[in-house]
Symmetry: C2
Subunit: 262 residues, 2 copies
């Protein structure tokens, strides 16, 4: 069976966390064109109400639809957890991919649901219970426990990804899940993959689900990228900060970057 | 000389940090009515561009002007550092007080400018150089050194105000200023007064300028409050989170709280 060709993927996030998804997409699909929209004027989404996040996501998708895109990736767990249905209603002709379902599928396919599954996420994603919902659809018996870890977003953006302070903060959050007997940890925020190495050192036996990587891998298995490998960045505010802080997540050059109004 | 009577103060902040100013105002002026507007839909301001912060501040002040208020306090260092002039232009009949100038006055009046003065603030306040400007107007010879400490905002909102992790993070930021020979530390973000006790324990000989307290004290010296001591809260999003996280800064009940649209 042949996979459909696509030339351009629109990627949307509240700010820079989604750059971890962009980076994985670029690794899996070197030829596809990527247009990334970071809503830096209104980040973070993780502490906002569902209604507000849905409104912001709809506006962001309108911008992406002005470009010739084949699919849209919502590279933000918070927006994925509340806005996917509304976005699908809005974009009948463009497929929408969130970052929650691929992580849930990885848990289920690996049969990592015998023991409780831990989810580390923003306040909004935890409150929404999106990972538990997605996992339960496939495996109703699974037990999902969550820890809101809002501070990790600021820590990731500060560029503190390892060292003693980071280890202590990660331990404080993750230990609360370990006490609930987890064997698998879902990094349920696209900022969090930057801590993967440190978490592996601290908890070598934990199964780690990186939602950035699982999402990109799923898309790369579904489509063949046939573009010119161009990457464009659109931000709604603070272009200079986006370049500086975004470097912690993207690790590549950012040549084509524009300010857009939302 | 008698001080003018006022019945209602409008207090505006990007979210909940300004509640430290509100708390100090309530302590100094038990009778005045306080209307607090927290722009929780769009927090934080500290990572946003001046243009965006000015637009947000103008919109927030429009809401406050719908109420019968006598003065406005901009209880946010970021907004104070970029938007005060624009707000004064907009509100010709209502006095506007920011939180930067009172802190600068305290430094100068105490003659704490012989050694370098350290400022711990958000990225936007540091970039703007607002404390240095305010201090230099009064004392051009003063040397001001700054550290952007964005992570402390998230830490304050997480309710982590003391303990080992907090001490290590505070030390990492403040030591970078200590190495520059500071003797005085300005807490240049209204979130930061919650760390005062921990900072005093870590650095007992440091002069600490708490911009929430100095601002409230200055206003209490300028006006006599003659209201009924009522406190009203307006928020632009996430009412439940505002109550929960706001408790870390306000330490009082929040009975009268409404959602407003900006």
């Amino acid at each position: 069976m042949s996979v459909p060709n696509i030339s351009t993927i629109g990627v949307f996030d509240s700010g820079m966390g989604g750059l971890t998804v962009l980076k994985s997409l670029r690794q899996y699909m070197p030829d596809v064109n990527l247009i990334y929209l970071g809503d830096t004027a209104r980040l973070p989404y993780g502490t906002k109400s569902p209604t507000t996040v849905i409104n912001y996501a709809l506006q962001a998708v309108e911008i992406l639809l002005e470009y010739k895109i084949d699919i849209i990736v919502v590279a933000c767990n918070t927006a994925s957890s509340v806005a996917i249905n509304c976005l699908e209603q809005r974009c009948k002709n463009v497929s929408i991919f969130g970052v929650i379902l691929p992580g849930a599928i990885e848990v289920v396919c690996n049969r990592w649901f015998i023991k409780p599954i831990g989810v580390l996420a923003t306040e909004a994603t935890v409150r929404q219970g999106a990972y538990a919902d997605a996992i339960h659809t496939m495996e109703p018996s699974a037990k999902v426990v969550s820890a809101p870890a809002q501070l990790l977003v600021a820590l990731a953006e500060e560029g503190w990804h390892d060292g003693e302070i980071v280890e202590k903060i990660l331990s404080k959050y993750i230990d609360s899940l370990i006490y609930q007997d987890i064997e698998t940890l879902v990094l349920g925020c696209t900022h969090f993959p930057v801590f993967t190495k440190t978490i592996r050192q601290l908890y070598p036996s934990l199964n780690i689900v990186n939602s950035a990587d699982t999402t990109a891998s799923r898309i790369a298995n579904t489509y063949r990228g046939i573009g010119s490998g161009k990457t464009t960045f659109l931000v709604t505010d603070s272009l200079e900060r986006f370049k500086r802080v975004g470097a912690y997540f993207w690790h590549n050059s950012m040549n084509d970057i524009k300010l857009v109004d939302l």
